[in-house]
Symmetry: C2
Subunit: 196 residues, 2 copies
DNA sequence: GGTGATATGTTGTCATCAGCTACATATGCC
DNA sequence: GGCATATGTAGCTGATGACAACATATCACC
């Protein structure tokens, strides 16, 4: 909030401030409302100042995405010691708790340059999942099962956020129950077979 | 192609033509490039003509989404007699074959009005999945397992399209193999338990 | 303490877009 | 033939992304 009471010509740390307010705008209005000019307004600087720190709008979105993946990864790692079920709950808690940020992270508007960093960050997610599924053979099996778990939870999160699983399920206890039921139907088996 | 050689003042079926060219634009350049003006240009009419048929840009996107779900539903129903594995393959073939359209269908920019119709159309997908998983108890179990299958495939499709599962996997035989391996690790069991 | 290079922020500008309003033209019904 | 309605057109407004020229602060160096 030092934004409007800024005394000096220079902001101090405009880059960080832009990322911060970008997160605010995103959470409030969605990706479409996150414009560089709006971020500049909220930061209390001119409409063109953000270009000193971000090449274009995509670059700012990329930074917000990256921070999102970092937060998600941290949340999962924190939940990991408590077991796979807790990791799954932490994943969905993040997705349902920060819906717009979560959508942005997986949005395909990702330019190639933007993706490079994101893919690396996302590997943390995969690794935590792979390590959370016990009783599998080798590392390759674990990686496959981790991928399946990641896909299942990501798909569930998106379907919930889209309202495809019922209007009430997008937030709250309904979602919690639904997720428990659905995830409870799934097993991971090392021996490949013709399941669907 | 009757667009430029149009003789009469009135277009004839501008609405259908707009939806058609919108699909073209979408497949070529992604959702961001799909503007009403661009659709109008391609249809050979003035930039404001589309407003006679669509309230705004969202309405056009909604129509394209709806057609996408209809196509997907039809593809799944066609594959259903061949069993669950074929349904899964058909699902992923659609997603990887029409990536931008697929992303649009699940994009959360969906306004509430837009969603209503989409949710109904998407129920077809869920139903086909639920019916494709044999050996489960009641209808409720089937619905849960169908939801899990839908989420798994949707998540896989998105992760593939995003390039999170490897740069080569987004299209072609690599994806096919990866999907077979990952899906092969998953079982559906009627008795709920602590899986993750 | 002075001086200049560099980073950072500002003002001004342009092209493009969504959406709106007033107007023109075609079509069908009487 | 004449009129009501559906449909297409031209022009406008406000907002945005992106860029260029300019202004100011900060810091290194002497």
């Amino acid at each position: 909030m030092a934004t409007s009471s800024r005394q000096s010509y220079h902001h101090g740390d405009l880059r960080a401030e832009l990322v911060r307010v970008a997160g605010e705008v995103l959470d409030q209005g969605g990706q479409a409302t996150l414009t560089l000019r709006e971020a500049a307004r909220r930061a209390g600087v001119s409409h063109s100042a953000p270009y000193r720190h971000f090449a274009d709008r995509e670059a700012l979105l990329a930074e917000v995405s990256a921070q999102g993946f970092a937060q998600l990864g941290a949340a999962l790692r924190q939940a990991a010691p408590a077991g796979g079920v807790e990791v799954a709950r932490a994943y969905l808690r993040f997705a349902l708790g920060h819906p717009r940020r979560y959508r942005l992270m997986y949005a395909d508007e990702n330019s190639l340059a933007r993706r490079a960093g994101l893919v690396d960050l996302a590997q943390v997610v995969l690794r935590v999942f792979a390590e959370s599924i016990p009783g599998l053979g080798g590392a390759e099996q674990a990686r496959r099962a981790g991928t399946a778990a990641w896909a299942l939870l990501h798909g569930l999160a998106e379907l919930l956020l889209d309202g495809f699983l019922g209007p009430l399920a997008a937030d709250g206890a309904d979602a919690e129950r639904l997720v428990r039921e659905v995830v409870g139907m799934v097993r991971f088996a090392a021996r490949p077979a013709a399941a669907a």
